[in-house]
Symmetry: C2
Subunit: 229 residues, 2 copies
């Protein structure tokens, strides 16, 4: 049976920006596995009822349905042990890096780019996104990101542990990327696909690392529709 990945899409079905879906898309590429993209929009929860889940990514691999990006990565290493490992023996350490991405990096990033998201969505999704997120922030999305250029130094400082690692290692996986790289990269890909904001200075080693991942898998992540270089 065909392999499918349900991925968040914008008004343009080719426009994919979810950091969690990017983790799964890069993880599939890392394992050398094809998967048809099934574009999914906010509010289309009925279309995920088969997975008993209300968010993407959801992977369908033959008879197996796997929701949640972390579970998808675990599944891929378990189901395809003969292909390059996503975790190797570093699974718990990668869990930490993934949790740091979710709790620290995404939390900071959303305050820089959230107002760029509604314009890339179709009207129904845009309205849903704006009302749910504005309820969380207690203000308009534009008020959340106001003055964001001035907050870039603070954001860049959060990347210090990543930067220090990348001064001695090409990837968080060492010589080659693994799921730690894809988890953090997903955050940058999220920003790059929706926002023109230049997050990283030209001489930042984090930028060089991001470029290496954009090149990976014949430019898979670079070739997707994006708002920043």
């Amino acid at each position: 049976m065909a392999r499918q990945l349900y991925e968040l899409a914008g008004a343009d079905p080719a426009h994919r920006f979810s950091p969690f879906c990017w983790r799964s898309r890069m993880a599939l590429a890392h394992k050398g596995l094809d998967a048809e993209c099934v574009p999914w929009r906010f509010t289309e929860t009925d279309r995920l009822a088969f997975a008993n889940h209300n968010k993407v990514p959801v992977l369908v691999d033959g008879d197996t349905v796997v929701p949640d990006s972390w579970a998808i990565a675990e599944y891929l290493d378990r189901a395809y042990p003969d292909r390059p490992a996503l975790f190797g023996t570093a699974k718990a350490a990668i869990r930490f890096i993934t949790a740091w991405t979710d709790q620290v990096l995404h939390a900071a990033l959303v305050r820089l780019i959230v107002s760029d998201i509604p314009p890339v969505l179709d009207p129904v999704a845009a309205s849903y996104f704006r009302s749910t997120r504005e309820a969380v922030f207690g203000k308009s999305l534009e008020a959340v990101t106001e003055g964001r250029e001035g907050r870039l130094p603070e954001f860049r400082k959060l990347l210090d542990p990543l930067r220090k690692t990348l001064r001695s290692e090409p990837f968080l996986g060492g010589a080659a990327p693994d799921y730690a790289d894809y988890a953090v990269f997903g955050a940058f890909q999220w920003a790059r696909t929706v926002s023109p904001l230049a997050l990283l200075a030209a001489d930042d080693p984090v930028r060089d690392w991001r470029e290496r991942l954009l090149d990976r898998f014949d430019g898979l992540a670079r070739q997707t529709p994006a708002m920043a270089a």
Copy 2:
């Protein structure tokens, strides 16, 4: 030749509190290696001239002199490959966790415990410590830690990535600890050995993990002189 670890000590030579020295002490125990402790105090830079270094830990292993806790861990895995690995294949990911410990955890912790340090030092070291650190902070050490109980929730929130990992894994190394655990544990051991402040809530999984590491190696870290339970 004998193996020696130069470790920071308080007025009591048995009182060892440096987070970086604790990393190396736990790393040696992990490898099953004995090393005589050579107590070292702030300002005794002449005694480290042989290592071309001005800080501890410094490891002397036969003819080999290795300063810096990260370099010591790398050396131990290289020199003793037949003993349990500190890094396994997760070295770059552990580098990230170690950098996070240095840049985020220590930076937050020092603001909670720094005023507890001079009382455990001999007068010369206490005077040196106070004047250099007060110059950095631009205020008295007591002013730095003032109201610290009120800042505990903020500190505990910084531990979220660690907490999330420890909800599914017993150690950052997975089933058994590795250098990622010792790097982060060193920070808690630093606090525990100098300060009565209760950093962690009783029901925090981070506390359970710390207890497991205090028990490790026949209670090596638990038996050292400490100011907190």
